[in-house]
């Protein structure tokens, strides 16, 4: 858990000026929180049902594209509207996706990877059919454009919002997982699915719920990621998928806390290297993942059974 502040502190002398450092750190945290939104669903689904969903990026893409259809640039209200719509649509699609694509191949990793990847391709092509294959601009509303000057550091308003929304979702998720009965069952299911079933709970239904919730979160993350990038391309799902995989491998498959730390580390490292060594920014995440796997082969917080 101390790795995130440690990384932030370690970057301070390397970056040099404190104001630049603050800008980069906030940007990194914002990026990390958005990635966490998208990754948390995937990691829970894997932990609970041992399903590795390569089609997760589809829900992200759907969210981002719904944001382009709702006129988000007009104000905060429409951003909220886009978020709700994206969560609903992605959640529904998640239920359909689970039923059609994932359910027939439970317990067969190889087929899961192949089939969910196929589902992802089909979804991406359908997005191209509906919204067209070209890039669509997605500027945030005027209220969120521009930056605040805090202690000589320019901080984009939108990034602050991203941190706030991300934190809110994390706290809500933490509350559900640790304080409610459903959360208790989910955590128990991640630890030992058969035992929970033996105690008479229908883990199948629970799983559909988690899958839908995870997809909805991915949709929300898609809206935020689209606004963060300020444009949307059909390949957004595949691109973000890669980031998310890195995050959940770093964090340990099945662990929400791990996903949070992994996401923050990835966000921070991406922003620091983007500033210091732009040429290497591409590989910073891969290098980070390789280092962590060397040190902890199962990820930082491996909860699910290896």
């Amino acid at each position: 858990m101390l790795m995130v502040p440690a990384l932030m502190l370690a970057a301070l002398p390397i970056v040099g000026t404190p104001s630049t450092w603050l800008t980069l750190t906030v940007a990194g945290l914002a990026m990390g929180m958005i990635i966490f939104l998208m990754a948390s669903g995937l990691t829970l689904v894997f932990g609970l049902m041992d399903v590795l969903n390569f089609g997760h990026g589809l829900f992200i893409a759907l969210g981002a594209y719904i944001a382009t259809s709702v006129a988000v640039s007009s104000g905060l209200g429409s951003v909220a509207q886009a978020m709700v719509l994206a969560m609903l649509a992605a959640g529904l699609l998640g239920i359909v996706f689970e039923r059609l694509i994932v359910r027939p191949v439970y317990g067969q990793h190889l087929k899961q990877i192949l089939i969910t990847m196929g589902g992802m391709i089909i979804g991406e092509e359908l997005i191209k059919v509906i919204w067209g294959p070209l890039q669509i601009a997605l500027p945030p509303p005027p209220m969120l454009q521009g930056s605040l000057i805090i202690a000589e550091a320019a901080i984009e308003k939108y990034r602050l919002l991203a941190v706030v929304v991300g934190l809110a979702v994390f706290l809500l998720q933490w509350w559900v997982l640790s304080q409610t009965r459903i959360g208790l069952l989910i955590r128990a299911g991640v630890q030992d699915r058969e035992m929970v079933e033996a105690l008479g709970y229908r883990i199948g239904r629970l799983f559909v719920g988690v899958f839908a919730a995870g997809s909805a979160l991915a949709g929300l993350g898609g809206v935020m990621w689209g606004l963060y990038q300020q444009n949307v391309v059909p390949q957004i799902g595949t691109q973000v998928n890669v980031l998310i995989f890195i995050v959940i491998i770093i964090g340990g498959l099945g662990s929400t806390a791990g996903a949070l730390i992994g996401a923050l580390l990835v966000g921070l490292v991406a922003n620091y290297t983007g500033y210091l060594l732009p040429k290497l920014a591409l590989f910073s995440n891969l290098a980070l993942m390789a280092l962590i796997l060397m040190w902890r082969p199962y990820g930082l917080y491996a909860l699910a059974k290896p």
């Binding site: 087929k111 192949l114 196929g118 995440n285």
Partner: protein, 361 residues
């Protein structure tokens, strides 16, 4: 004799043997049976993709691990030839140097990926290869002074392999025997050799261990085989053959760009070929590559016709647009994983052996 060449791994089904023989004959006589630039191009691509799909099957079908970086190695091979030929001029030395450099790079990358990901869980391999392949693709388009970026590289190959070289003064069976035909037969020879070597590999004791790991990793480890070592070796061999396939493609096309060798679409094509043909049977790679390439070359025309026919309904027309080819491929892929997980070869063998399987139940 034939049995020995095929490493005693016979088709074990009369219709399958017939199909394979037809494919082999078709490829052997392609320049004479199907004259024309497009048909010969399709045949050459089949030769290249037989090697690519077979090497992917070594990973997917025989070792049971999914890699999404297979086209990365394919691309490395193609870029190796392209860059070397462009920098040093057309010549055999350029081809050799490009080949060596590409093979070295592929082996290093495959080893690194294997060490990082296969040590823990095979499932990491799928995710990490996806990440590495995506990074490599971006890298290739960023270093445009070396790789030509999105435009790719056009280069020249030794004059012996171009259509300007006449090898025989008179046409044979109405076909001019030029360097292009020689190049085709060169590819045919290389492709056959590589395929037979792969067949030898999967039927060796080493190949048996791979299959044991696929079927029961825990048990293989318990018998005393180092699972990590075998998986890593398998991914190394597979990367090596993919690189060779990439070189074949580059030499044939005399062009290389991200869309011809590196794109994710090609990864999808290879997956589809292996699944359609039948995972875990190298013959499946041959049939899969042949069926797929012919379909790709001629079905896109069909889609174009369909798109024109449905012009009245813009939504339908958009679905049938030739650019949405991948959509139909994806659907086909999902359906074939569901309904024919054993592919053409698996189904044919099942029919051929039905009485035996019934008895064993």
């Amino acid at each position: 004799m034939l049995s020995r060449v095929l490493s005693y791994d016979l088709p074990r089904s009369a219709p399958l043997a017939l199909l394979l023989a037809l494919t082999a004959l078709g490829l052997l006589a392609a320049p004479f049976l199907f004259p024309g630039v497009k048909a010969l191009g399709v045949a050459a691509k089949i030769l290249v993709f037989i090697v690519l799909a077979a090497s992917f099957d070594l990973l997917l079908g025989y070792t049971g691990i999914v890699s999404f970086a297979h086209t990365m190695f394919f691309g490395i091979g193609a870029y190796g030839i392209a860059i070397a030929s462009l920098r040093m001029g057309a010549g055999w030395d350029a081809l050799a140097l490009g080949a060596l450099a590409a093979l070295g790079l592929s082996l290093t990358l495959a080893l690194l990926i294997g060490i990082v990901s296969l040590r823990v869980r095979a499932i990491f391999f799928a995710m990490i290869t996806l990440a590495v392949a995506a990074a490599f693709q971006t890298l290739a388009s960023q270093f445009s002074e070396l790789t030509g970026g999105e435009d790719g590289l056009s280069f020249r190959v030794p004059a012996l392999l171009t259509s300007a070289t006449r090898l025989l003064p008179d046409p044979v069976l109405g076909v001019n025997i030029d360097g292009r035909i020689l190049c085709y037969y060169l590819l045919l020879a290389v492709s056959t050799a590589l395929f037979l070597i792969l067949l030898r590999v999967v039927n060796s004791p080493f190949g048996r261990v791979l299959q044991a790991i696929r079927d029961n990793e825990f048990r293989a480890e318990a018998i005393g085989y180092r699972v990590v070592v075998f998986r890593t070796l398998s991914s190394l061999i597979s990367a090596l053959f993919a690189t060779l396939a990439g070189m074949m493609l580059a030499i044939w096309l005399r062009y290389n760009g991200p869309d011809t060798s590196l794109s994710f679409e090609i990864m999808m094509d290879v997956l589809l070929m292996v699944v359609i043909g039948g995972m875990g049977t190298l013959y499946g790679a041959v049939l899969g590559a042949a069926v797929f390439m012919v379909a790709q070359a001629y079905l896109q025309d069909l889609l174009r016709v369909l798109a024109q026919a449905t012009e009245a309904a813009p939504m339908l027309a958009a679905l049938f647009s030739p650019d949405r080819w991948l959509l139909w491929m994806g659907l086909l892929f999902v359906c074939s994983v569901y309904f024919f997980p054993n592919g053409i070869v698996g189904e044919l063998r099942r029919i051929a052996h039905q009485p035996i399987t019934l008895r064993s139940r």
